[in-house]
């Protein structure tokens, strides 16, 4: 080996059961560089970083640090090797101070003597100042802003002597100003000869700060290049891949009248961040509208608003000719809006309950299912049985807890429940996530069948192939707005990728104004 890389991964494979998250990944990074890892959600970036930081162990393959072969069995091992990771969700103890969090886990004598903490704080402050990271060291974490908490995490890695600092989506939680400041820090670390790895899906940032760029796609590391050799457009193209999607012809339908009109909608996320900003779009009867976008651009909030789980502040939603009730799940159910939530076991099904109870979710108030407050148990059982047969749900019995079913059968059950409502409109969020090929196809068939019956679907998915294959129209969401609309057939991956990355027009001269 001529050149020693500060980190080198060779033929790394990581499997979770039958799912291959990383497939023969080769990766190298030099000291004194910022290496960006680019890829869509689920491309395997996080898995790779977790293997470096000792959270996961690779199924096969080798890792070299400073040219020496190592085995990283735990985060502690990683720390010893000088690898520090800043996770997307911070690992901080809310009630301890910043300084206490940083020295947490450090061995010290039982009696530390007076002024010990003061000394530690000064030590920490010295590191912080050196890298331009300021935060109040003696305040408890819960009093710090998200940006400050991130700085604590970074200083924690530096304090522990990390030479390789891994940051997972560091800017996703930051304001633009804070992000700028972070970049200054990263440059400073680079100047100190440290290796910085960041994952992101924001192309602008990649171009602004990184030296080398690796692109991951579907578990494989497909390209590694220097920043100087490439540009945003090329990155966008590489990130979404270039293989052609086989578009099965959808039976063409005359465009129906508008069913859902979203007008100037402002929605705030849990922590007060504006998630949807003047959102506008329409869905017509009998069409599947795909929403493509990088995760965290408002998809979750959009789905929640449409199904009554979240309130909107400004704007209006008109559904089927009348205004939709704000923040009323029951209102949405009564308006015949179906919902396939993002994570079926988290919010779509009750894992410990049986088939019948899970099918009753939306309809238990109707007169067919209950009368005078009493459930019509016998009728409900035979109704459930017929649904199980109709949707071909494979289950050991009607009382079997649904968590015992396979993912595909769980999703079938969920669809059975939602379709049974005879909805006019369905919000389907990542409907095929975690399903195998057969089950995915089943879900796709169900969606196209619904479309055939004149129902409309808003398909929010990170799987671009899925969106392109099923949608009549594709909307691209970025920063809480629909920034692009592409008709079926004219949409190319490249174009969608650019919109997703926040590059508004294909013309490079016109720069985006939303940040």
């Amino acid at each position: 080996m001529l050149e020693t890389y500060s980190v080198e991964m060779q033929r790394i494979v990581k499997q979770f059961g039958s799912v291959v998250a990383n497939d023969q990944v080769d990766f190298k990074a030099k000291a004194g560089e910022i290496h960006a890892l680019l890829g869509e959600n689920g491309a395997g970036k996080s898995t790779m970083m977790c293997m470096l930081s000792g959270v996961y162990r690779p199924t096969s393959g080798e890792i070299y640090i400073q040219g020496e072969k190592v085995k990283i069995r735990s985060p502690k091992d990683a720390m010893k090797l000088g690898i520090g990771m800043v996770f997307q969700n911070f690992r901080l103890v809310q009630t301890l101070t910043a300084a206490e969090n940083i020295i947490l886990g450090e061995k010290s004598s039982f009696w530390r003597g007076p002024g010990w903490m003061k000394k530690k704080q000064e030590e920490i402050e010295a590191i912080a100042v050196k890298f331009g990271l300021t935060f109040p060291v003696d305040r408890p974490i819960w009093q710090l802003s998200v940006g400050e908490q991130q700085r604590v995490e970074i200083v924690k890695t530096l304090y522990r002597g990390a030479d390789l600092i891994i940051l997972d989506e560091p800017t996703s939680v930051l304001t633009p100003g804070e992000a700028e400041q972070l970049f200054v820090t990263l440059a400073q670390m680079k100047a100190e000869g440290k290796t910085v790895m960041i994952t992101t899906h924001k192309l602008k940032e990649v171009m602004a700060i990184s030296d080398s760029i690796s692109i991951m796609r579907k578990g494989k590391l497909t390209h590694t290049m220097m920043k100087t050799e490439t540009n945003e457009r090329e990155l966008a193209r590489l990130m979404v891949g270039k293989e052609l999607t086989v578009q099965k012809p959808l039976a063409s339908r005359p465009k129906g009248k508008p069913l859902l009109i979203v007008d100037q909608l402002d929605v705030y996320a849990d922590h007060g961040r504006k998630a949807l900003n003047q959102m506008e779009f329409q869905v017509h009867e009998g069409e599947i509208v795909g929403v493509a976008g990088v995760a965290g651009n408002g998809q979750k909030e959009l789905a929640e608003v449409l199904t009554g789980l979240r309130a909107w502040r400004k704007g209006s939603i008109t559904f089927n000719g009348s205004p939709l009730k704000n923040a009323s799940v029951r209102g949405a159910i009564e308006a015949r809006i179906a919902h396939v939530p993002e994570n079926r076991m988290k919010s779509g099904l009750a894992g410990s309950l049986g088939i019948v109870d899970n099918l009753l979710f939306k309809s238990y108030r109707t007169s067919d299912r209950s009368r005078f407050g009493f459930l019509r148990s016998r009728a409900n059982r035979s109704w459930s049985q017929s649904l199980v047969e109709q949707f071909d749900v494979k289950t050991p019995g009607l009382d079997a807890p649904v968590r015992q079913l396979s993912g595909g059968n769980q999703q079938k059950l969920l669809f059975a429940r939602e379709v049974e409502q005879d909805p006019l409109f369905m919000v389907a969020v990542h409907p095929t996530q975690g399903l195998d090929v057969g089950a995915t196809e089943g879900v796709h068939r169900l969606l196209t069948e619904m479309r055939g019956q004149g129902k409309s679907i808003l398909l929010i998915s990170e799987d671009l192939d899925e969106v392109m294959q099923l949608s009549d129209r594709i909307l691209v969401i970025y920063n809480g707005r629909m920034v692009g609309e592409l008709a079926r057939g004219e949409a190319t991956r490249e174009q969608i990728g650019l919109y997703m990355a926040g590059v508004r027009e294909t013309d490079d001269t016109e720069e985006e104004k939303v940040v």
Partner: protein
């Protein structure tokens, strides 16, 4: 390289299963995500382990644990007197047990049954103190209604802060137990003290109209019927009504319940009203059926024992009946070993040990042991 334990595709984002290694035996203990509930025999194993554990202390007292346990069993279940006494003790346990169980169903950790029991007892006594001229046939119904409301309102004092200000119900419900206890002491030492009671901290003895009818010459009173009706209602409501369905859904997955349009906060209020109400009714049954007066030290901790009763029963109605009967027996058995020179608090020790081993058992059954490859 160690093989990954079985993982579903959903588990991708989770860190590797935590494992603990024992190099000596080359066995591995690891978290098994597919195991959520402990198997049924775990309950029995827990009880047996608790008995063995307490046996050590009994032996340390110079007694043979087997003799002591058999003495307890014959004392509690061996004679018709023992059985009726056990039933008398199991009435408040069952009512309070239903109360906490219904709250636990929706993951509201009400540990304030003791206070709600006392509040109910006070409310029922208030009827006897302030409405002594009431028509005879109305007295008992009024006491029942007052006690349910009293306990229920005591429960709401926990539910309201929990619902509107996210105040942890464990703390408020526990603290309110002491408030209720001190309030009760205030009444029995103060305004409600029997003027002819030689300074005994208690109200005047209830009249016949204020007392629950008893069976023959035993102490078994009508409260047993209340408890049985309550447990049947609990079973029926949970299984066959829309409301019960909503509770089951909230208990199984609150996130999904929100998706089904269920307003969880409203349910918490109603459930705590009922939960407290059941404990309050138990308090009424105790004063009106057993002690026939409100007095100092009315509860030997029924409200706390009820938590163990509900846990042992896994919140199941039939289980509640069985476990409250067993714990009633444990209290009575504790008294019967006093004759051979052991303190009756032996039964508290066994109660505590059972809860300890139950919880330990349900934790332990989430793990599995594997031989290291």
């Amino acid at each position: 390289m160690s093989k990954q334990p079985v993982q579903s595709a959903l588990a991708i984002e989770q860190p590797d299963t935590p494992t603990r290694r024992s190099k000596l035996l080359s066995l591995r203990i690891e978290l098994d995500p597919s195991r959520k509930e402990s198997p049924w025999w775990m309950t029995i194993v827990s009880i047996l382990l608790a008995l063995v554990f307490c046996g050590i202390f009994i032996a340390a007292n110079g007694m043979n644990p087997i003799t002591v346990y058999s003495k307890m069993i014959t004392g509690a279940f061996g004679t018709s007197f023992g059985i009726t006494e056990t039933l008398v003790k199991s009435i408040p346990l069952l009512l309070c047990g239903i109360g906490v169980a219904i709250a636990y169903r929706i993951s509201v950790w009400n540990i304030g049954a003791e206070g709600q029991f006392l509040a109910g007892a006070m409310a029922a006594t208030a009827v006897t103190v302030y409405f002594s001229n009431m028509p005879v046939y109305l007295v008992i119904p009024a006491m029942v209604v007052f006690s349910i409301l009293g306990g229920g309102i005591w429960g709401l004092l926990t539910a309201i802060p929990r619902t509107y200000f996210q105040v942890n119900e464990l703390i408020t419900s526990l603290m309110l137990n002491y408030v209720a206890l001190l309030a009760l002491n205030y009444f029995v030492f103060g305004p409600w003290k029997d003027p002819k009671g030689f300074n005994f901290p208690g109200t005047p003895v209830f009249t016949d109209a204020q007392s629950l009818p008893v069976l023959g010459d035993t102490r078994l009173h009508l409260g047993l019927v209340f408890a049985i009706v309550a447990v049947l209602l609990y079973a029926f409501l949970m299984k066959y009504t829309r409301w019960g369905y909503e509770l089951r859904l909230i208990g199984a997955n609150p996130e999904a319940a929100k998706n089904a349009g269920i307003k969880i906060s409203r349910h918490i209020l109603l459930v705590m009203l009922i939960s407290g109400g059941m404990a309050g009714l138990a308090g009424m049954a105790e004063v009106s059926g057993v002690t026939h007066r409100l007095m100092y030290g009315i509860s030997p901790g029924y409200g706390y024992t009820a938590i163990i009763v509900a846990w042992l029963a896994k919140l199941n109605p039939l289980g509640l009946v069985v476990s409250s009967f067993l714990f009633g027996g444990l209290i009575v058995g504790g008294f019967s070993v006093q004759t051979i020179g052991l303190p009756s608090s032996i039964s508290s020790m066994i109660q505590g040990a059972i809860l300890f081993f139950l919880i330990a058992g349900s934790m332990a059954s989430k793990f599995r042991i594997r031989r290291n490859a």
